[in-house]
């Protein structure tokens, strides 16, 4: 018998009584009068990110280049400030679809990626993998996440319902992640620090 067969056999033999799945439709998860306002609040407070609301007169690229000007180059790409993105219209020096190796994106000062669902209860943004190398989402020093206001839902139940129903997410690339603000840790004496291993700062651009 293989280990799999042994394990399954033991489980079946040892399980005594069984329990039914509860009816989760009876749960009444939290909703907000204005989920967008709640999302903005949580994003800029507990998640520790910045948030910009794009005006119709602006282009996304304008906003991204504007952010880039305010940030120091990490010096990892020589002296140039390196933007990594495969989003249409963004002037970027690195393209996560065409880099030879994922490591190259570690030189990115700013990654610009797209979120497809925003969650008001916890400022999470669902980012399905839409590029060959997902390291752009984590290895770039800073992140800009573009999110449509219409994509904001109340809570994680609503978010997961959308993901489960989608035929698009996971179809090309088999990965997706929720990101809520910059990477953090409090492992040293409980002191909160932003910028652990991944993004040191995040700006959400609401379109």
């Amino acid at each position: 018998m293989s280990a799999k067969e042994e394990i399954l056999a033991r489980l079946r033999k040892n399980t005594r009584e069984t329990y039914d799945m509860p009816d989760l439709s009876q749960l009444n998860p939290i909703t907000y009068v204005d989920p967008v306002a709640e999302f903005i609040l949580k994003t800029t407070t507990t998640a520790g990110a910045k948030l910009i609301e794009k005006k119709p007169s602006e282009t996304l690229n304008d906003i991204v280049q504007g952010i880039a000007k305010t940030l120091p180059s990490s010096g990892q790409g020589g002296e140039d400030f390196l933007i990594a993105s495969n989003l249409p219209g963004i002037e970027a020096q690195l393209n996560p679809d065409t880099v030879a190796e994922a490591q190259e994106l570690m030189a990115a000062d700013l990654g610009v990626i797209e979120g497809r669902i925003g969650v008001a209860e916890n400022a999470c943004i669902w980012i399905p993998q839409q590029m060959k190398e997902k390291s752009v989402c984590f290895a770039a020093q800073q992140l800009v996440i573009v999110l449509s206001r219409d994509a904001i839902v109340n809570n994680m139940h609503e978010a997961y319902a959308r993901i489960a129903a989608s035929t698009e997410f996971f179809s090309q690339y088999k990965f997706g992640t929720f990101i809520s603000g910059p990477s953090k840790t409090a492992d040293i004496e409980g002191a909160l620090v932003y910028g652990a291993q991944a993004a040191r700062a995040v700006t959400v651009v609401l379109v």
Binding site: E6, R10, L24, L27, T46, M156, H157, T177, Q197
Partner: protein, 466 residues
């Protein structure tokens, strides 16, 4: 009357400041959890739902495991099964060596600690780099974790700084790139975190493989879900091309609807945040990459058959129980003999090896606070009580406790003797030995002796015809 836990705790308690800091740090996390609980009107309904989902899943686990494997294989993932820790370690080493892996970066996994994977790999010449900051610090300092979620909170910044200066070869170069220059405190946590960041990014870049644990496995879709605040699981798996997931079989949940319940609990219960920064769903390998999942039993298929203790399989390893445990907060992780401390650790240790870990069973005042914070309603305190009943048949009952229980039982079952003893009890007031000698009277360790009244209630009732 003492156990390894009580003796270790007594030594730990000698340093008042350390204990106060430890207690306040972890009670602070408990308070943050309380704020999260108060903020969600549906909190108690969620706990009941989570408990029921887990009870359902664990009692149909074989079916869900088959479904999970089917899905994940369809997505191009390699699935391996391990009966026990030895088999698991062997499988992981085989995968790594067949890919000529020299350096592995890994994110936190209690399962890998349970199976002692790191030591196994290192003995065979594979370099293992822990990438969770707390775990990396402990790895460099060769210390054991003191908590399952915040494992290095007991370590002082000076010692961390010292370790980094000794063991990170380009410490000075990294320090030069830090802005602002010359931090006021040479061991400021923000500065040290930056140093660790730069050091670990070098490791991610050079690693041949990344290993993660799994907070959850979703049977319906074959997703592996990993939650972190640091993003280290994602750094470990988006740069090196080989990804190995280590997952205890009890980590499965049925579907995305259930996932909503659990994602909302992980950080709220464990660290008092609304969410972890990263909640990553791995459904299949990266383009040009390879993904392996090792499903590990290591006693779980026996635990399901244990009528009094099977509910420990519901545990999400969130750490809420130890944050609230008044005994954990004042004795800390190193007082326990099992690598997981606190209420869940007492119970899991006994399930792992009752003859090795029974010392921890004394570390509980049966206050039941843990039962009330557990997001999946594991009946932790009842299980500790039940383990106490089993100690005698395991051959580990404290002889003094046994003698006292026998004595009490005898006395209480003979009312006439009992009331006579009460009549004589105030004689204790005059016994100097009882007041002073802690060996004869362990009560005297922390207490002044009580004064026995002249008459017991029994006597008053009888004599004063109440």
């Amino acid at each position: 009357m003492s156990t390894k836990h009580s003796k270790a705790a007594e030594a730990y308690l000698q340093d008042d400041a350390v204990v106060t800091r430890h207690d306040q740090t972890f009670f602070g996390v408990r308070q943050k959890r309380d704020r999260m609980a108060q903020a969600l009107p549906e909190w108690e309904d969620l706990r009941e739902a989570a408990s029921q989902i887990k009870k359902h899943t664990e009692t149909h686990l074989a079916d869900y495991l088959e479904q999970f494997e089917q899905q994940t294989v369809k997505n191009g993932v390699h699935v391996h099964w391990a009966n026990d820790a030895e088999e698991y370690n062997r499988i992981v080493f085989d995968i790594l060596s067949s890919h000529q892996v020299k350096k592995v970066v890994k994110s936190k996994s209690m399962l890998t600690e349970e199976c002692h994977l790191n030591g196994h790999l290192e003995a065979k010449g594979i370099e293992v780099i822990e990438t969770d900051l707390g775990e990396r610090i402990l790895q460099m300092m060769k210390l054991a974790p003191s908590h399952i979620v915040m494992p290095a909170l007991h370590v002082h910044r000076e010692d961390i700084g010292d370790t980094f200066r000794r063991l990170i070869p380009d410490f000075d170069e990294i320090a030069k790139s830090y802005k602002p220059q010359d931090p006021h405190d040479p061991n400021d946590p923000t500065f040290l975190t930056y140093v660790a960041r730069m050091h670990l990014r070098q490791q991610f870049a050079k690693a041949d493989a990344g290993m993660t644990g799994a907070n959850f496995g979703i049977a319906e879709t074959g997703d592996v879900v990993v939650c972190t605040n640091e993003g280290n699981a994602d750094m470990s798996t988006s740069i090196p091309k080989l990804h190995i997931v280590s997952m205890g079989i009890e980590k499965l949940i049925p579907n995305y609807q259930a996932m909503g319940v659990f994602q909302r609990f992980v950080a709220r219960s464990g660290t008092g945040q609304e969410t972890t920064v990263y909640t990553s769903h791995f459904r299949g390998p990266r383009p040009g990459g390879e993904m392996h999942i090792v499903l590990v039993d290591n006693g779980r298929s026996e635990i399901i058959g244990n009528p009094e203790h099977w509910q420990t399989l519901k545990c999400m390893r969130c750490g809420a129980c130890m944050n609230t445990c008044p005994v954990y907060r004042r004795s800390a992780g190193y007082s326990y003999t099992y690598f997981i401390p606190g209420p869940i650790g007492v119970n899991l240790g006994m399930l792992r090896d009752p003859h090795k870990y029974y010392d921890n069973v004394s570390g509980c005042s049966l206050c039941c606070s843990c039962d009330n914070v557990c997001p999946v309603k594991v009946d932790l305190s009842t299980q500790v009580y039940r383990w106490r009943q089993e100690l005698d048949s395991l051959g580990h009952a404290d002889p003094m406790k046994k003698m006292m229980s026998n004595g009490m039982s005898f006395l209480f079952n003979h009312p006439a003797l009992y009331t006579t003893a009460l009549r004589l009890s105030h004689v204790v007031n005059w016994m100097p030995g009882a007041l002073v000698n802690m060996k004869l009277n362990p009560w005297a360790y922390g207490h002044e002796m009580m004064k026995f009244p002249k008459k017991s209630f029994h006597q008053i009732w009888k004599e004063e015809k109440l």
